[in-house]
Protein backbone atom coordinates (compact mmCIF):
# COMPACT_ATOMS: atom_id res chain seq x y z
CA UNK A 1 0.00 0.00 0.00
CA UNK A 2 2.53 2.57 0.94
CA UNK A 3 5.62 1.91 -1.06
CA UNK A 4 9.04 3.47 -0.67
CA UNK A 5 8.72 5.16 -4.10
CA UNK A 6 7.37 8.71 -4.20
CA UNK A 7 4.49 8.47 -6.66
CA UNK A 8 3.90 12.27 -6.98
CA UNK A 9 7.09 13.13 -8.91
CA UNK A 10 6.83 13.39 -12.67
CA UNK A 11 10.13 13.58 -14.44
CA UNK A 12 10.00 14.23 -18.20
CA UNK A 13 11.95 11.88 -20.35
CA UNK A 14 14.77 14.01 -21.81
CA UNK A 15 16.15 11.37 -24.11
CA UNK A 16 14.04 12.21 -27.21
CA UNK A 17 14.66 15.94 -26.90
CA UNK A 18 18.37 15.33 -26.52
CA UNK A 19 18.27 13.12 -29.57
CA UNK A 20 16.56 15.84 -31.64
CA UNK A 21 19.04 18.42 -30.46
CA UNK A 22 21.94 16.23 -31.53
CA UNK A 23 20.28 15.74 -34.91
CA UNK A 24 20.10 19.51 -35.34
CA UNK A 25 23.69 19.98 -34.24
CA UNK A 26 24.82 17.38 -36.74
CA UNK A 27 22.87 19.12 -39.51
CA UNK A 28 24.39 22.52 -38.83
CA UNK A 29 27.85 21.06 -38.50
CA UNK A 30 27.56 19.40 -41.89
CA UNK A 31 26.31 22.52 -43.67
CA UNK A 32 28.75 24.84 -42.00
CA UNK A 33 30.60 26.80 -44.63
CA UNK A 34 33.83 28.55 -43.85
CA UNK A 35 34.17 29.87 -47.40
CA UNK A 36 31.57 32.58 -46.92
CA UNK A 37 34.00 34.52 -44.74
CA UNK A 38 36.12 35.25 -47.81
CA UNK A 39 33.13 36.29 -49.94
CA UNK A 40 31.63 39.75 -49.92
CA UNK A 41 27.97 38.82 -50.13
CA UNK A 42 26.94 42.40 -50.90
CA UNK A 43 28.29 42.04 -54.41
CA UNK A 44 25.82 41.28 -57.17
CA UNK A 45 27.60 38.91 -59.47
CA UNK A 46 26.84 38.88 -63.20
CA UNK A 47 24.59 36.19 -64.58
CA UNK A 48 25.80 33.99 -67.40
CA UNK A 49 24.23 31.03 -69.05
CA UNK A 50 27.01 28.54 -69.15
CA UNK A 51 29.35 29.19 -66.27
CA UNK A 52 30.70 25.97 -64.93
CA UNK A 53 30.50 24.97 -61.27
CA UNK A 54 33.81 24.86 -59.51
CA UNK A 55 35.22 21.33 -59.31
CA UNK A 56 34.50 20.06 -55.81
CA UNK A 57 37.39 19.99 -53.44
CA UNK A 58 39.80 21.61 -55.85
CA UNK A 59 38.77 25.23 -55.87
CA UNK A 60 40.07 26.55 -52.60
CA UNK A 61 43.14 24.45 -52.18
CA UNK A 62 45.44 27.16 -53.44
CA UNK A 63 43.51 30.30 -54.27
CA UNK A 64 43.10 33.95 -53.42
CA UNK A 65 39.59 35.39 -53.40
CA UNK A 66 39.34 39.01 -54.50
CA UNK A 67 36.11 40.95 -54.06
CA UNK A 68 35.77 44.06 -56.23
CA UNK A 69 32.85 46.40 -55.64
CA UNK A 70 31.34 48.83 -58.17
CA UNK A 71 33.74 51.57 -57.04
CA UNK A 72 36.70 49.33 -57.77
CA UNK A 73 37.62 48.85 -54.13
CA UNK A 74 39.39 45.56 -53.49
CA UNK A 75 38.37 43.63 -50.40
CA UNK A 76 39.97 40.46 -49.15
CA UNK A 77 38.38 38.66 -46.20
CA UNK A 78 36.27 41.74 -45.63
CA UNK A 79 39.26 44.06 -45.37
CA UNK A 80 39.95 46.80 -47.90
CA UNK A 81 43.36 46.34 -49.48
CA UNK A 82 45.60 48.40 -51.73
CA UNK A 83 45.82 46.63 -55.07
CA UNK A 84 49.53 47.16 -55.74
CA UNK A 85 50.71 46.32 -52.25
CA UNK A 86 48.48 43.30 -51.86
CA UNK A 87 49.39 41.83 -55.24
CA UNK A 88 53.11 42.26 -54.52
CA UNK A 89 52.74 40.69 -51.11
CA UNK A 90 50.75 37.73 -52.43
CA UNK A 91 53.16 37.31 -55.31
CA UNK A 92 56.07 37.19 -52.90
CA UNK A 93 54.39 34.62 -50.69
CA UNK A 94 53.28 32.50 -53.62
CA UNK A 95 56.80 32.47 -55.08
CA UNK A 96 58.24 31.49 -51.73
CA UNK A 97 55.82 28.59 -51.39
CA UNK A 98 56.35 27.52 -54.99
CA UNK A 99 60.12 27.41 -54.51
CA UNK A 100 59.73 25.44 -51.31
CA UNK A 101 57.45 22.93 -53.01
CA UNK A 102 59.41 22.68 -56.24
CA UNK A 103 63.15 23.20 -56.40
CA UNK A 104 62.96 23.73 -60.17
CA UNK A 105 60.71 26.75 -59.80
CA UNK A 106 62.31 29.93 -61.09
CA UNK A 107 61.29 33.57 -60.88
CA UNK A 108 59.19 34.27 -63.91
CA UNK A 109 57.48 30.89 -63.93
CA UNK A 110 53.72 30.78 -63.66
CA UNK A 111 52.52 30.73 -60.09
CA UNK A 112 50.38 27.71 -59.21
CA UNK A 113 47.84 29.84 -57.37
CA UNK A 114 44.37 30.56 -58.68
CA UNK A 115 43.04 34.08 -58.37
CA UNK A 116 39.28 34.04 -57.86
CA UNK A 117 37.66 37.28 -59.00
CA UNK A 118 34.30 38.20 -57.52
CA UNK A 119 33.30 41.50 -59.04
CA UNK A 120 30.00 43.32 -59.00
CA UNK A 121 28.24 43.35 -62.34
CA UNK A 122 28.24 47.16 -62.36
CA UNK A 123 32.01 47.41 -61.93
CA UNK A 124 33.65 49.27 -64.79
CA UNK A 125 36.11 47.24 -66.78
CA UNK A 126 39.00 49.61 -66.13
CA UNK A 127 38.68 49.11 -62.38
CA UNK A 128 38.54 45.34 -62.75
CA UNK A 129 41.42 45.28 -65.23
CA UNK A 130 43.60 47.29 -62.86
CA UNK A 131 43.35 44.47 -60.32
CA UNK A 132 43.76 41.66 -62.84
CA UNK A 133 46.77 43.30 -64.45
CA UNK A 134 48.47 43.83 -61.08
CA UNK A 135 48.21 40.12 -60.34
CA UNK A 136 49.26 39.12 -63.86
CA UNK A 137 52.39 41.20 -63.46
CA UNK A 138 53.25 39.25 -60.31
CA UNK A 139 53.11 35.98 -62.23
CA UNK A 140 49.58 34.82 -61.53
CA UNK A 141 48.14 33.16 -64.61
CA UNK A 142 45.11 31.20 -63.45
CA UNK A 143 41.99 33.28 -62.96
CA UNK A 144 38.46 32.20 -62.11
CA UNK A 145 35.71 34.72 -62.75
CA UNK A 146 32.74 34.05 -60.52
CA UNK A 147 29.22 34.41 -61.80
CA UNK A 148 25.74 33.24 -61.03
CA UNK A 149 24.09 30.81 -63.36
CA UNK A 150 20.74 31.68 -64.85
CA UNK A 151 19.16 28.91 -62.83
CA UNK A 152 20.59 30.00 -59.52
CA UNK A 153 20.03 33.74 -59.93
Amino acid sequence: MSGSVDSDSAEPNLVPILDMVFQLITFFMLVMNFKSASMDLNLKLPVVGSARPAPEGKEDVNSIVLNIDPQGILRVQGVERNVKEFSEEEGRVARMHAKAANSNFKDGDDLPVTVVIRADKETKFALLYRVVKAFQQQGFRFFNYKAMSEVGS
Partner: protein, 186 residues
Protein backbone atom coordinates in the same frame (compact mmCIF):
# COMPACT_ATOMS: atom_id res chain seq x y z
CA UNK B 1 20.38 -7.57 10.18
CA UNK B 2 16.98 -6.13 9.49
CA UNK B 3 18.65 -2.75 9.03
CA UNK B 4 20.89 -4.17 6.33
CA UNK B 5 17.93 -5.77 4.64
CA UNK B 6 16.06 -2.47 4.67
CA UNK B 7 19.11 -0.69 3.28
CA UNK B 8 19.40 -3.21 0.44
CA UNK B 9 15.70 -2.98 -0.35
CA UNK B 10 15.67 0.84 -0.66
CA UNK B 11 18.90 1.30 -2.70
CA UNK B 12 17.82 -0.84 -5.68
CA UNK B 13 19.86 -1.48 -8.86
CA UNK B 14 18.50 1.33 -11.00
CA UNK B 15 20.99 4.10 -11.88
CA UNK B 16 19.55 7.27 -13.27
CA UNK B 17 21.64 9.57 -15.41
CA UNK B 18 20.94 13.24 -15.04
CA UNK B 19 20.43 14.51 -18.60
CA UNK B 20 19.95 18.13 -17.71
CA UNK B 21 23.58 19.11 -17.89
CA UNK B 22 24.14 17.29 -21.15
CA UNK B 23 21.03 18.84 -22.66
CA UNK B 24 22.18 22.28 -21.58
CA UNK B 25 25.54 21.79 -23.30
CA UNK B 26 23.82 20.47 -26.39
CA UNK B 27 21.62 23.58 -26.57
CA UNK B 28 24.69 25.77 -26.18
CA UNK B 29 26.33 24.06 -29.14
CA UNK B 30 23.15 24.27 -31.16
CA UNK B 31 22.82 27.98 -30.47
CA UNK B 32 26.40 28.51 -31.61
CA UNK B 33 25.87 26.70 -34.90
CA UNK B 34 22.55 28.39 -35.57
CA UNK B 35 24.01 31.85 -35.00
CA UNK B 36 27.06 31.19 -37.14
CA UNK B 37 25.09 29.58 -39.95
CA UNK B 38 25.30 31.70 -43.09
CA UNK B 39 24.20 30.03 -46.32
CA UNK B 40 26.67 30.79 -49.07
CA UNK B 41 25.30 31.37 -52.55
CA UNK B 42 25.99 28.72 -55.13
CA UNK B 43 28.38 30.35 -57.53
CA UNK B 44 29.80 29.18 -60.79
CA UNK B 45 32.85 30.33 -62.63
CA UNK B 46 34.61 30.88 -65.91
CA UNK B 47 38.19 29.67 -65.64
CA UNK B 48 40.83 31.36 -67.75
CA UNK B 49 44.55 31.13 -68.11
CA UNK B 50 45.70 34.65 -68.84
CA UNK B 51 49.22 35.34 -70.10
CA UNK B 52 51.38 38.25 -69.12
CA UNK B 53 49.71 41.29 -70.73
CA UNK B 54 53.06 42.63 -71.94
CA UNK B 55 53.42 39.58 -74.16
CA UNK B 56 50.23 40.21 -76.04
CA UNK B 57 50.84 42.04 -79.29
CA UNK B 58 48.26 44.77 -79.13
CA UNK B 59 47.42 46.39 -82.38
CA UNK B 60 45.16 49.33 -81.92
CA UNK B 61 42.52 48.53 -84.46
CA UNK B 62 41.93 51.18 -87.07
CA UNK B 63 38.39 52.52 -87.29
CA UNK B 64 36.49 49.57 -88.62
CA UNK B 65 34.77 50.01 -91.93
CA UNK B 66 31.06 49.68 -92.23
CA UNK B 67 29.77 46.33 -93.21
CA UNK B 68 30.87 42.82 -92.57
CA UNK B 69 31.32 39.59 -94.37
CA UNK B 70 33.05 36.33 -93.90
CA UNK B 71 36.71 36.52 -94.65
CA UNK B 72 39.66 34.47 -93.50
CA UNK B 73 41.64 36.31 -90.88
CA UNK B 74 45.41 36.15 -90.99
CA UNK B 75 47.55 38.92 -89.65
CA UNK B 76 50.60 36.77 -89.48
CA UNK B 77 50.02 36.42 -85.78
CA UNK B 78 48.10 33.78 -83.95
CA UNK B 79 45.55 35.99 -82.29
CA UNK B 80 42.15 37.26 -83.28
CA UNK B 81 41.28 40.62 -81.82
CA UNK B 82 37.72 41.46 -80.85
CA UNK B 83 37.13 45.08 -79.89
CA UNK B 84 34.23 45.98 -77.64
CA UNK B 85 33.26 49.64 -77.62
CA UNK B 86 30.96 50.80 -74.82
CA UNK B 87 28.17 53.34 -74.89
CA UNK B 88 27.60 55.92 -72.18
CA UNK B 89 25.76 53.42 -70.01
CA UNK B 90 28.57 50.89 -70.16
CA UNK B 91 26.66 48.55 -72.43
CA UNK B 92 27.87 47.36 -75.81
CA UNK B 93 27.82 50.05 -78.45
CA UNK B 94 29.78 48.50 -81.28
CA UNK B 95 31.73 45.32 -81.80
CA UNK B 96 34.58 44.89 -84.25
CA UNK B 97 36.33 41.66 -85.12
CA UNK B 98 39.78 42.52 -86.43
CA UNK B 99 38.91 45.40 -88.76
CA UNK B 100 35.35 44.43 -89.47
CA UNK B 101 32.42 45.96 -87.68
CA UNK B 102 30.10 43.17 -86.65
CA UNK B 103 27.11 44.67 -84.93
CA UNK B 104 25.88 48.17 -84.37
CA UNK B 105 22.15 48.00 -83.86
CA UNK B 106 19.94 45.93 -81.65
CA UNK B 107 19.86 44.95 -78.01
CA UNK B 108 22.94 43.78 -76.23
CA UNK B 109 21.81 40.20 -76.50
CA UNK B 110 21.35 40.56 -80.26
CA UNK B 111 24.79 42.10 -80.63
CA UNK B 112 26.42 39.27 -78.72
CA UNK B 113 24.48 36.77 -80.82
CA UNK B 114 25.71 38.51 -83.99
CA UNK B 115 29.26 38.36 -82.66
CA UNK B 116 28.83 34.68 -81.89
CA UNK B 117 27.66 34.04 -85.43
CA UNK B 118 30.54 35.96 -86.94
CA UNK B 119 33.15 34.30 -84.77
CA UNK B 120 31.70 30.84 -85.38
CA UNK B 121 32.10 31.38 -89.10
CA UNK B 122 35.66 32.55 -88.70
CA UNK B 123 36.51 29.69 -86.39
CA UNK B 124 35.03 27.18 -88.78
CA UNK B 125 37.06 28.51 -91.71
CA UNK B 126 39.94 26.07 -92.28
CA UNK B 127 42.23 28.82 -93.57
CA UNK B 128 42.52 30.63 -90.27
CA UNK B 129 45.82 30.63 -88.44
CA UNK B 130 44.83 32.00 -85.06
CA UNK B 131 44.46 29.96 -81.90
CA UNK B 132 43.67 32.67 -79.39
CA UNK B 133 41.21 35.49 -78.98
CA UNK B 134 42.08 38.80 -77.39
CA UNK B 135 39.21 40.96 -76.23
CA UNK B 136 40.01 44.64 -76.28
CA UNK B 137 37.48 46.23 -73.97
CA UNK B 138 36.59 49.85 -73.48
CA UNK B 139 37.40 51.13 -70.00
CA UNK B 140 33.85 52.11 -69.15
CA UNK B 141 32.31 48.81 -70.19
CA UNK B 142 30.33 47.08 -67.46
CA UNK B 143 31.81 43.88 -66.13
CA UNK B 144 28.47 42.18 -66.68
CA UNK B 145 28.77 42.78 -70.42
CA UNK B 146 32.39 41.66 -70.58
CA UNK B 147 31.71 38.39 -68.85
CA UNK B 148 28.83 37.60 -71.16
CA UNK B 149 31.14 38.03 -74.13
CA UNK B 150 33.80 35.93 -72.39
CA UNK B 151 31.21 33.27 -71.72
CA UNK B 152 30.19 33.23 -75.35
CA UNK B 153 33.82 33.07 -76.57
CA UNK B 154 34.69 30.22 -74.23
CA UNK B 155 32.15 28.05 -76.04
CA UNK B 156 33.62 28.57 -79.51
CA UNK B 157 35.14 25.64 -81.35
CA UNK B 158 37.61 25.46 -84.19
CA UNK B 159 37.10 23.60 -87.44
CA UNK B 160 38.69 20.48 -85.98
CA UNK B 161 36.28 20.46 -83.05
CA UNK B 162 38.70 21.65 -80.41
CA UNK B 163 37.45 24.30 -78.05
CA UNK B 164 39.00 27.72 -77.74
CA UNK B 165 41.38 27.59 -74.81
CA UNK B 166 43.34 30.79 -75.18
CA UNK B 167 41.19 33.74 -74.30
CA UNK B 168 42.32 36.91 -72.63
CA UNK B 169 41.36 40.54 -72.41
CA UNK B 170 43.11 43.88 -72.32
CA UNK B 171 41.93 47.45 -72.09
CA UNK B 172 41.33 49.48 -75.20
CA UNK B 173 43.55 52.57 -75.43
CA UNK B 174 41.84 55.62 -73.99
CA UNK B 175 41.25 57.32 -77.34
CA UNK B 176 39.86 54.17 -78.87
CA UNK B 177 37.57 53.67 -75.90
CA UNK B 178 35.34 56.52 -76.90
CA UNK B 179 32.27 55.27 -78.56
CA UNK B 180 32.59 54.97 -82.28
CA UNK B 181 29.59 57.24 -82.58
CA UNK B 182 31.49 59.98 -80.76
CA UNK B 183 34.58 59.47 -82.86
CA UNK B 184 32.71 59.48 -86.09
CA UNK B 185 30.68 62.49 -85.09
CA UNK B 186 27.35 60.72 -85.36
Amino acid sequence: MSRRKQHNASSGDEVKLNMTAMLDMAFQLLAFFVLTFKPAPVEEQIAMRMPDPSRIAIRTPPPPPVGGGVEPVDFGSQQLTVSLYPDKAGELDTIAVATTRVAVDGTQKQKIAALHLDLSRKFAHPGNSFDKVVLMVGSTMRYDTVIQVMDMCSQLKFADGTQLKKLTFVELPVVASHTLSEREGI
